[in-house]
Amino acid sequence: MLNLALQLGQTKTPEAILFWILAPMSVLAALGMLVVKKAVHSALLLAWIMISLAFFYIAQDALFLGIVQIVVYTGAVMMLFLFILMLVGVDASDSLVETIKGQRATSITAAIGFGGLLLSLIGRATVGHSAFGLAESNVKGNVQSLAESLFTKYVWAFEVVSALLITAALGSMVLAHSQKLKSRTLQRDLSAARFRGKSLSTAAGLPSSGVYARHNAVDVPALLPDGTPAPTSISATLKARGDMLDQKIFELEVKEVEED
């Protein structure tokens, strides 16, 4: 009898292999989330953990939840996270310097205590029976059984949750909407500003980029009459990105032309 109970409480070998491969890796990935510097790396590690969890759900007879986990979490939620990272700046790396003194040590100590508490509670808890398994509940199929209980027993919670979803969608739209504080500068305003500025040197607009025999692109500077490159002829964005071509090659060519 005891042996039978133990056998029922134990999962089968393939599941054990799956667990012992994926569980340490997901714990390592979770620890990695704490120490990696870039938010994108954290997001990738979290996606890995979520996929592992989906495998665990499917291994535990929760087929529907496993699929939903992949579609909702790794599909939608992580995509949202990556979108926001793109918006905020992918290279917005976190400084790992402690700002509150002793906070890290305190929190890690507290976490070890909390984790130990949880582990010991789980270890000592007895449910009074071995695992029943879901074979009986899933007789009609996991999705059908879940739908049955969702639309009968939990129908009120289901309705409330749908209201919550709509509220969240509207709320995020309201939050993300930004009002324009000042009117857009039109081409006419820009033109007026050019003539009313301090000097008239740029009144006719900034010089266009260099046009040479072998190069005709926005990333090469134009040359001034004395042969020096004109820095204003290149877009400030390209300059900031470091996407400018070196103009020295073109200076030499200009000298040759002069010698001729």
Partner: protein, 99 residues
Amino acid sequence: MDIANYLYLSAALFTIGAVGVVVRRNAIVVFMCVELMLNAANLAFVTFSRLNGNLDGQVASFFTMVVAACEVVVGLAIIVTIFRSRRSASVDDASLLKR
């Protein structure tokens, strides 16, 4: 393998997520750690569902997923709004009440 191993894993992930929420500075990473905690709780739900042989745990887990999706949407909108006005996603910079 004991089925309680899933519960141990869930506890470990939950604890690591809690540490992340406290330790990390970037609001987005803090948010991801909250997601990790929610996922760990979901794993416990699914495991208990199997342990008790009924689907109530899976339904609870389903609802958690929906609430987590709502939370992500609103939370990220808040982060975007804060970033737009302060040019920073660090939780240390949002200390307006202190001054």
